[in-house]
């Protein structure tokens, strides 16, 4: 066997959403090895998912040829076709759907973390076509946080972990092999004396090392934050000068906070009042403190209030846009953001008004984006700021209801790109019905998934080692990271930019998609910096423009008042409570005595992926329900027993892991489980056996009011012993 000389390049890993820059070695035209970064500060930013990339990218089951369905939907019978034939037929069938039902009959679900190099082409195509119905998992993960943060101060800040003195982790648990760079920054901060406060129903890895651990009841984060504000205001620990000059709504907020005395907050959260007060003081008196983004507050019935409380804490304690606090970075002036490429201005107001879910739950939809357009332009120079992809979305539950029922109008074409939609949203049975009711389903994936099994066409996607890119964290930070193509993709595979470009050229939008390649798009995006992609790649691996702090002193904040809105004028104008509040989630009962929290990620996997990668699956072969010994014992359950978790909505089967670290009365459920090995024997590869998405309701009663985000953190359930599912061991 001949071996070509090693070819070492820098890549941005897209196996999870954190985007570590790593080094990749190719041999004989294939990805051979992933190595840590050569830069000493970034050398630890690597995990075992990243180093499995050669086995993922060269996996024998990887999709390499476009597939066209020839059996019944979901039957898994396919004909191999060319990319050109697939795109011709998709364009023709989409045209028929649009002609029959209007452009809003197209819905697209995607995960930018997975597809990475779309460059806003999906929204660009949809806006030109006339559809506002774009959805994504970021509706429950960071994107919605970005949208809610904009209500308070007009941007989504990033924590300055490199200089902070105090880190507050609301349920977030960065680990050595999960959110690795954030884990490493926290460790560095600890090393120089920063304190860490963890709020988590479980004694997580971060909680074990924390200065304070508040083992709160799941889903009570908003109440906890209101309790912190009570302590801070009562003890005068807030930054009165900043509040006086830069905030509006303080008196109203103060009155609301007074409704949450510590004994009430202690009763709601299950945490001792004195411990709550200690944590509040520790946060408020630190010389620079941060509350990094957390998925936990993205996924609960009080989500908007919980995220708003975090925003308010940052502001009133003087930690907003300062060194060691949380920084409003704005757009990178040298790199056109996706917001520019998406062409939101061409979608007519009448079509924007049709965005599904915007009537009931408007916060991350066009309705609020339009309300913030003027202040956003005044402060940040653009009317549309699509931060972390999450500021112009339709509501996923509303989209799936429309797909399944035709109410309020038919949605008959559904495209899923890098997104296993069936297992990624609440009420999996509704999503299933929605997919079955479609005239056209297109999946663009690297591997066959349960969602792709329901498609009419499955197109093979590329992976990060097969494309050039500059990762920009979707405007969350201003950092630009180079990712170099290491090997060629399979001949019939396409990137997502290529998919949308090819479709646009077939549907009359060729003029608006003038860039033939991703490199030409990158040249266009870099134009403000005066460089081409080749020049950027030849000069640097990563760069950030000089950081700006306290720039609001020149521009004000990108809110209607130009101030930090402690009472949100946007929420008030929409008819919602302008102040944060605690809302209780669904209660336990004698029939369902346990409190369930779902959506938990495991180290070897990202979202619903990688269960087919042996070196990763061996680290976590089966899904595990975490139970406290006091709960497992009376049920006769021990480690490794199989059990069924039942909720009023659905049931999953998993193995038991008895964990003294759990808060008694709580059950922790991992996210996104299915069984690729059952594809030949079980419908949809076991998508309904262990997927937490069957447990969660999309019922309006169980959605956050302002965003419509589902409640994953604290709903009733029960656990009963059962045998292992057939074919799983």
């Amino acid at each position: 066997m001949t071996t070509a000389p090693a070819d070492l390049k820098h890549v941005v890993c897209s196996i999870c959403d954190i985007g570590c820059q790593l080094r990749a070695e190719a041999r004989d035209g294939a990805l051979h090895r992933i190595l840590p970064h050569g830069h000493p500060i970034m050398a630890r930013n690597i995990c075992f998912k990243g180093t499995a990339a050669p086995q993922i990218h060269a996996h024998p089951d990887r999709l390499r040829v476009p597939l066209k369905r020839v059996g019944a939907r979901g039957e898994d019978w396919w004909e191999e076709i060319t990319h050109a034939q697939a795109m011709d037929e998709i364009a023709e069938r989409l045209g028929a759907v649009v002609a029959a039902h209007g452009p809003e009959a197209l819905a697209v679900s995607t995960s930018g973390w997975n597809t990475q190099t779309t460059h806003g082409a999906d929204r660009r195509f949809m806006n030109l076509l006339g559809s506002p119905n774009w959805i994504s998992g970021v509706a429950m993960c960071a994107g919605n946080t970005a949208a809610v943060n904009r209500l308070t101060y007009g941007w989504f800040p990033f924590p300055d972990l490199a200089s902070t003195s105090c880190i507050v982790l609301f349920g977030h648990n960065p680990r050595r092999h999960s959110w690795t760079p954030i884990h490493n920054l926290i460790e560095m901060a600890r090393g120089r004396g920063a304190t860490v406060i963890v709020l988590d129903p479980r004694v997580s890895e971060q909680a074990e090392k924390a200065d304070l651990h508040l083992q709160l009841r799941a889903g009570t984060d908003a109440a906890m934050g209101l309790g912190w504000l009570k302590v801070i205001f009562d003890e005068g620990l807030h930054d009165q000068a900043f509040v006086d000059e830069w905030c509006v709504g303080f008196d109203e907020l103060r009155a609301r906070v007074d409704e949450y005395p510590l004994d009430r907050v202690a009763a709601i959260t299950g945490v001792d009042a004195e411990l709550i007060a200690r944590a509040a003081r520790m946060y408020a008196t630190a010389d620079g403190a941060v509350i990094p983004w957390t998925p936990v507050t993205d996924q609960q019935v009080s989500s908007t209030s919980a995220i708003r409380v975090h925003s308010i804490l940052r502001a009133v304690t003087g930690n907003l846009d300062v060194v060691g606090g949380e920084v409003l970075g704005g757009f990178n002036p040298g790199y056109r953001p996706e917001s520019d490429l998406q062409l939101h201005e061409v979608l007519p107001p009448g079509q924007k008004a049709k965005q599904l879910g915007a009537d009931a739950h408007p916060v991350y939809t066009y309705r609020v984006a339009e309300m913030l357009a003027e202040p956003t332009e005044r402060v940040w120079g653009r009317r549309y700021a699509d931060l972390v992809m999450g500021c112009h979305m339709a509501n996923p539950s509303a989209v799936f209801r429309a797909m399944a029922t035709g109410d309020p109008y038919p949605v008959k074409a559904f495209f899923a790109l890098g997104n296993n939609a069936l297992l990624s949203y609440p009420d999996q049975h509704l999503v299933h019905r929605a997919l079955l009711a479609q005239d056209l389903v297109v999946a663009h994936e690297v591997f066959m998934t349960p969602t792709a099994l329901l498609a009419d066409y499955v197109l093979p996607g590329d992976v990060f080692s097969e494309r050039n890119h500059i990762a920009d964290t979707w405007s969350w930070t201003t950092r630009l990271s180079l990712s170099e193509k290491v090997v060629e993709p399979p001949p019939e595979a396409s990137g997502t930019y290529g998919f949308w470009r090819d479709l646009a050229h077939r549907m009359g939008f060729a003029e608006q998609f003038p860039w033939a390649t991703v490199e030409e798009v990158l040249d266009h995006r870099l134009e403000p910096s005066g460089r081409t992609f080749a020049e950027f790649a030849a000069a640097t691996l990563m760069e950030s423009p000089p950081p700006r702090f306290r720039s609001y002193r020149r521009t004000g904040f990108a809110t209607p008042s130009g101030k930090v809105e402690l009472a949100s004028s946007v929420l008030a104008d929409l008819g919602f409570d302008p102040l944060p509040y605690h809302r209780e989630g669904p209660a336990t009962s004698p029939a369902y005595p346990l409190t369930v929290f779902t959506g938990v990620r495991e180290d070897p996997f990202f979202q619903t992926g990688q269960r087919n990668i042996p070196v990763l699956r061996r680290r976590s072969p089966t899904p595990r329900l975490f139970l406290h010994p006091d709960d497992a014992g009376p049920l006769g359950l021990a480690d490794d027993d199989w059990a069924r978790l039942e909720t009023p909505q659905g049931a999953v089967v998993a193995q038991i892991s008895v964990q003294p670290s759990m808060r008694p009365g709580h059950v922790r459920v991992p996210h996104g489980w299915w069984y690729p090995e059952l594809r030949a024997t079980t419908a949809l590869a076991g998508a309904f056996i262990s997927s937490d998405a069957v447990l969660c309701s999309g019922d309006p009663e169980h959605l956050d009011r302002e965003q419509g985000t589902p409640h994953f953190k604290g709903f009733p359930g029960r656990v009963v012993p059962c045998p292992a599912p057939e074919g799983v061991s």
Binding site: I41, S163, A241, G318, V322, T540, F549, P621
Partner: protein, 65 residues
């Protein structure tokens, strides 16, 4: 936060901008001049990492479990 004076804010901001500049230069492909100095400075700040056996996967495995 503990009230930070205007002077303290400015000192912290200057330092942050300086460190950002050093970090940028340490990440260029240029190995001379100030970029070389930046690379040397950063290398002194962070000691080399010991190898992590968890990062190594076997070349061949039989299956998921």
């Amino acid at each position: 936060m503990t009230q930070r004076s205007e002077a303290a804010h400015r000192r912290a901001e200057r330092k942050a901008r300086l460190m950002n500049g050093v970090l940028n230069r340490s990440l260029t492909r240029r190995e001379a001049g100030l970029d070389k100095v930046a690379k040397t400075v950063v290398a002194r700040l962070a000691p080399p990492e010991p190898p992590d056996p968890e990062l190594h996967h076997p070349d061949r495995v039989d299956g998921p479990s």
